[in-house]
């Protein structure tokens, strides 16, 4: 990536709330016109990262370059170019029309206002006549969420940061929001960063997935995280006991790390048990779901092993050969050496 292609360049970012470190990012580059997905459990720092990217907060340490320049909250260069849909969207105490038009009005860009508001509402699947004059509190949860989204879309920003845009939005509207986001990128060259827990939706929209865990980034999509507690078995292996008696073997942890990941491309699926080996994990599980990833043509498959889920990607042939389907009992296999400590 050359500098001219970069929208964001984050270096050595640390962010604290009080004394707690919630973000710790060595480096992150985000390309112009890319759609980046942020994935991670609650409290992993997604919203915090988005707020930093929106320059709504200053990181405690480190610097954020936007298009190669150091920028700060309120610098006029970015104020009208980057917009963030916050996780708990707040509607102003005005009508829906005024809420959506607000951003344009403060930009003094009010030609064809009515037409543009209509279009923005249509983009999120809401009817202009029905909603235009409603007050901010006369909406259902999902409708409010979508109004907030419309208020961002109408701005046609250079960067659109979306924090859980489809939480409590129905499937049909989620599709509309996806289409609107893709259109923005297509037609206006918008750069998007999106955090969400709806992985299927997220995969259907993003070019690149970044996993977050306790404030750290892993750049290759949903990875399978194996969490504490562990037991030391011997100098070469630690183990994690599942409640149903199964055991995951892990290499000894690197210093200062306390969780392990196994990347999804390193996990394999089978129907029969192989010969036991000190370096091979074999776990009994059941397929919970299979989702189609349009972009890759692969099928994202979630396998439940007792109460933890593992995700891996399968190709259609593999599925037909093994006669896999949700509900089928399978064995997951991965090598102990492919486990990484973080």
């Amino acid at each position: 990536m050359t500098i001219r292609e970069l929208a964001y360049h984050l270096k050595d970012i640390c962010h604290y709330y009080g004394n707690t470190k919630v973000l710790d990012i060595d480096e992150l580059k985000i390309k112009k016109r890319s759609i980046t997905a942020l994935i991670g459990p609650n409290g992993s720092g997604k919203s915090t990262l988005l707020k930093l990217l929106a320059f709504a907060q200053k990181p405690t340490q480190g610097q954020i370059l936007y298009k190669g320049r150091k920028e700060y909250p309120f610098s006029s260069g970015i104020r009208s170019k980057i917009t963030l849909l916050t996780q708990k969207p707040y509607l102003l105490k005005r009508t829906i029309f005024e809420n959506i038009a607000y951003g344009l009005k403060i930009r003094k860009d009010t030609d064809n206002l009515e037409k543009r508001v209509k279009e923005a509402l249509l983009n999120v699947g809401l009817d202009y006549e029905k909603f235009e004059n409603r007050k901010w509190h006369e909406l259902s949860g999902g409708e409010a969420q979508r109004v907030a989204m419309a208020a961002r879309l109408i701005l046609k920003p250079e960067v659109l940061l979306l924090d859980e845009p489809v939480a409590s939005v129905d499937t049909k509207s989620a599709k509309l929001i996806r289409r609107a986001s893709l259109n923005a990128r297509q037609e206006l060259g918008t750069t998007l960063v999106i955090a969400s827990h709806d992985l299927q939706w997220l995969y259907s929209i993003s070019d690149r997935q970044i996993s977050m865990f306790k404030g750290q980034l892993f750049s290759t999509g949903i990875e399978n995280i194996i969490t504490q507690p562990f037991e030391k078995q011997n100098s070469k292996t630690h183990i994690k006991r599942l409640d149903d008696g199964q055991i995951i073997k892990l290499p000894p942890p690197a210093p200062k790390t306390c969780n392990a990941i196994i990347r999804k491309k390193k996990v394999f699926i089978g129907l029969e048990q192989q010969e036991e080996s000190a370096s091979l994990n074999q776990l009994y599980g059941q397929i919970a779901s299979m989702l189609f990833e349009k972009k890759t043509g692969l099928i994202m498959t979630t396998v439940t092993v007792h109460d933890t889920s593992f995700v891996l990607r399968l190709n259609p042939d593999e599925i037909t050969n093994l006669e896999l389907h949700p509900g089928k009992k399978v064995i997951l296999k991965f090598d102990i050496h492919d486990i990484e400590w973080i």
Partner: protein, 228 residues
């Protein structure tokens, strides 16, 4: 008790008969109170906003200061303003003593802490998400102020109404700075004080009712701004 009843009748008489001293006092009252309200709201809203919105070192101390200023006795303000605008005072040349302008200055000082304190506490209460939303929608500093103030408009209305009540009823400043000069700087409150001093309690009650009536009219017209 009888003078209260008499006061009611007298109040109606005063208003209907077009008693010139009453009416000049009404106009004087309206003039100074309007003027001081405009000034104190104009200055108090931004101050209240800054005090309520931002977190900074010494914020608590500043809040305590403003709260203390709520307890400025009117006579004290009157004396202080007098010191400045009396002939020998630094602003003596402007001839503000015994004028309505002088009273308005004093009343502005009186109302300013009220507007500031209540605005600040209302702004302080606003949702953190509102701030974030405004910033991320690209609002500049000016937009943030106006939008936040508009969001808490009912709280601000309360601040204004409270300050208005204070300004309308104060005596100390009007007496000290205005001098209670008949047909000139006599306001309704100083007139009440005068009538009461004369022992004409019924007149005092009557003028009090006139003042309350004015406040009622003003609040009635403001009530259309209220939440439906």
């Amino acid at each position: 008790m009888d003078f209260i009843v008499a006061g009611f009748i007298k109040a109606i008489e005063l208003l209907i008969s077009g008693d010139s001293s009453t009416w000049t006092a009404i106009f004087a009252t309206l003039k100074v109170s309007t003027c001081s309200m405009v000034l104190s709201i104009g200055a108090g809203l931004p101050c209240g906003f800054l005090l309520g919105y931002f977190d900074f070192r010494g914020k608590k101390a500043l809040r305590t200061f403003v709260d203390t200023m709520l307890a400025l006795p009117t006579v004290f303000i009157g004396l202080a303003v007098y010191a400045f605008i009396s002939h020998q005072g630094p602003l003596g040349e402007f001839n503000l003593l015994f004028t309505l302008t002088g009273i308005a200055i004093g009343q502005t000082i009186l109302a300013l802490p009220i507007v500031t304190a209540i605005t600040a506490s209302t702004i302080e209460n606003i949702d953190h998400d509102l701030k974030l939303t405004l910033v991320t929608l690209g609002a500049g500093k000016r937009n943030i102020i106006t939008t936040c103030l508009w969001e808490v408009r009912y709280g601000i209305l309360a601040a204004a109404v409270t300050a208005y009540g204070r300004v309308l009823t104060e005596v100390g400043i009007s007496m000290m700075v205005g001098g209670n000069i008949k047909y000139h700087t006599r306001t309704i409150t100083t007139a009440i004080a005068l009538e009461t001093n004369k022992g004409l309690f019924a007149n005092g009650i009557a003028l009090g009712l006139v003042l309350i009536f004015i406040a009622f009219i003003v609040n009635l017209s403001l009530s259309f701004l209220r939440k439906q």
